[in-house]
């Protein structure tokens, strides 16, 4: 069985405002604010009205939700995990080139 559907690639040309981001990830804006003050998200722009979030932010929210849900990690813990994971990814990529 196949279906017709709209499909979007969340690539690095796309950005979202806070309301769109909340809709996309199905989260409350309070969580986004908390994640920003925890340093988990760093939007472009200076005020909530002008904030723009990219695909990295979307991924970070999704992973944070899963870590919270599956491993009962709190936000500072999730921030640490995400930073370490990014570092591991970079190191892996560097190893692969040799």
């Amino acid at each position: 069985m196949t279906h017709e559907y709209r499909c979007t690639v969340l690539d690095d040309t796309m950005t979202w405002g806070i309301a769109e981001l909340c809709e996309l990830c199905r989260v409350d804006s309070n969580l986004v604010h908390e994640m920003i003050s925890e340093g988990l998200l760093t939007p472009q722009g200076t005020s909530p009205e002008t904030w723009r979030f990219n695909a990295v932010a979307v991924k970070r929210i999704q992973v944070t939700l899963r870590l919270q849900n599956d491993l009962r990690v709190n936000l500072p813990g999730a921030a640490l995990v995400l930073d370490l994971l990014e570092e591991i990814d970079e190191l892996r990529a560097r190893i692969r080139q040799f």
């Binding site: 559907y5 499909c7 690639v9 969340l10 939700l65 870590l67 491993l71 080139q97």
Partner: protein
């Protein structure tokens, strides 16, 4: 269907206390969480651990499982006895995390749920919107580098909640064709609108997020949209310069190797990486000079002649 040894899966003994089971579960869950563990089998392993914990943490389920377990070995062909009446026909409740949603056939034959029918009461009455709208689903799709380079179509199968009409929802395996756009890179997501779980009643369907994973390639590695290749060359090609036919994802191209090239030097093939509408990727070729073995007297003589004619110390920077 294979019998599953839930104790073995959690690395605990059959007499393990609830506290021991919880500790073992949490440790394994951290280790195999698919966001943390990048091995291809991590997700399957994580689901297995969750399923084992779901049974063993629940006294009633554990007792029912133990009553069977005595006579079975892991991996053994398993059939529930004909007189088995599942007391757990609404199983699966409460584990609606994105990664542990679906159970093995073995679990379902013991505790029901999964492909069975369920109705409104299984949905969390968290808030009105969540109550009716279907859940978003997240999955990984692994593709080849060629799929990304050229663009491709892939058929994927996933378990999702479908509305059978009259408010009856069931989880069923469904196939859908996905267009992989040209130049997609690892880690990027494709969002398929309305392809998640069905909503309850008139609720909207959830969305489906597919995360791209690249299968390992025989020749190439990647970093974002750039492709990396290690190119073996001979000493004379490196010294004299050469035109070398180099594989790229789009077929072979000629690479001009400048004279006096060295091992480890990186050359760029512009635009031969993963290119999308808005972005361009390159292929980087790292030179590796391979030295032919000196086997015959004549060959040895040639190397000796080289040593005489062009004395060279590649370790001059070491001092001493």
């Amino acid at each position: 269907m294979d019998y599953k040894d839930y104790y073995k899966i959690l690395h605990v003994g059959k007499d393990a206390s609830q506290e021991e089971i919880k500790r073992a579960y949490r440790k394994l869950a951290r280790k195999f969480h698919p966001d943390v563990n990048k091995n291809a089998d991590a997700e399957a392993k994580f689901k297995e651990i969750n399923e084992a914990y779901e049974v063993l943490k629940d006294d009633e389920k554990r007792k029912a499982y133990d009553n069977f377990g005595n006579n079975w070995q892991a991996g053994q062909e398993f059939r529930p006895p004909p007189d088995w009446e599942s007391r757990f026909s609404r199983g699966g409740q409460g584990s609606r995390g994105t990664t542990s949603q679906h159970h093995s056939d073995f679990f379902e034959s013991l505790f029901g749920g999964g492909r069975g029918h369920f109705t409104q009461e299984n949905f969390s009455p968290f808030d009105q919107e969540e109550y009716s709208r279907g859940h978003d689903l997240h999955a990984k799709v692994s593709i080849t580098l060629e799929d990304s380079y050229h663009g491709a179509k892939r058929t994927i199968t996933l378990n999702r909640t479908v509305d059978e009409g009259g408010g009856r929802l069931s989880i069923q395996p469904q196939s859908l064709q996905v267009t992989i756009p040209k130049g997609i890179v690892e880690g990027q997501q494709i969002r398929l609108e309305g392809q998640g779980d069905s909503g309850y009643a008139k609720g909207q369907r959830g969305n489906l997020f597919l995360e791209i994973v690249f299968e390992p390639h025989r020749l190439f590695t990647t970093s974002k949209r750039d492709i990396y290749l290690v190119l073996p060359v001979t000493p004379w090609e490196a010294a004299l310069g050469a035109s070398i036919s180099v594989p790229t994802l789009g077929g072979h191209v000629d690479l001009k190797l400048p004279p006096n090239s060295q091992s480890g030097q990186k050359l760029r093939l512009k635009g031969r990486g993963l290119c999308s509408k808005n972005h361009i990727g390159h292929q980087y070729v790292t030179l590796a000079i391979y030295t032919p073995e000196a086997r015959t007297a004549e060959q040895r003589e040639l190397y000796e002649k080289m040593a005489r004619i062009m004395p060279y110390n590649p370790r001059s920077g070491f001092g001493g």
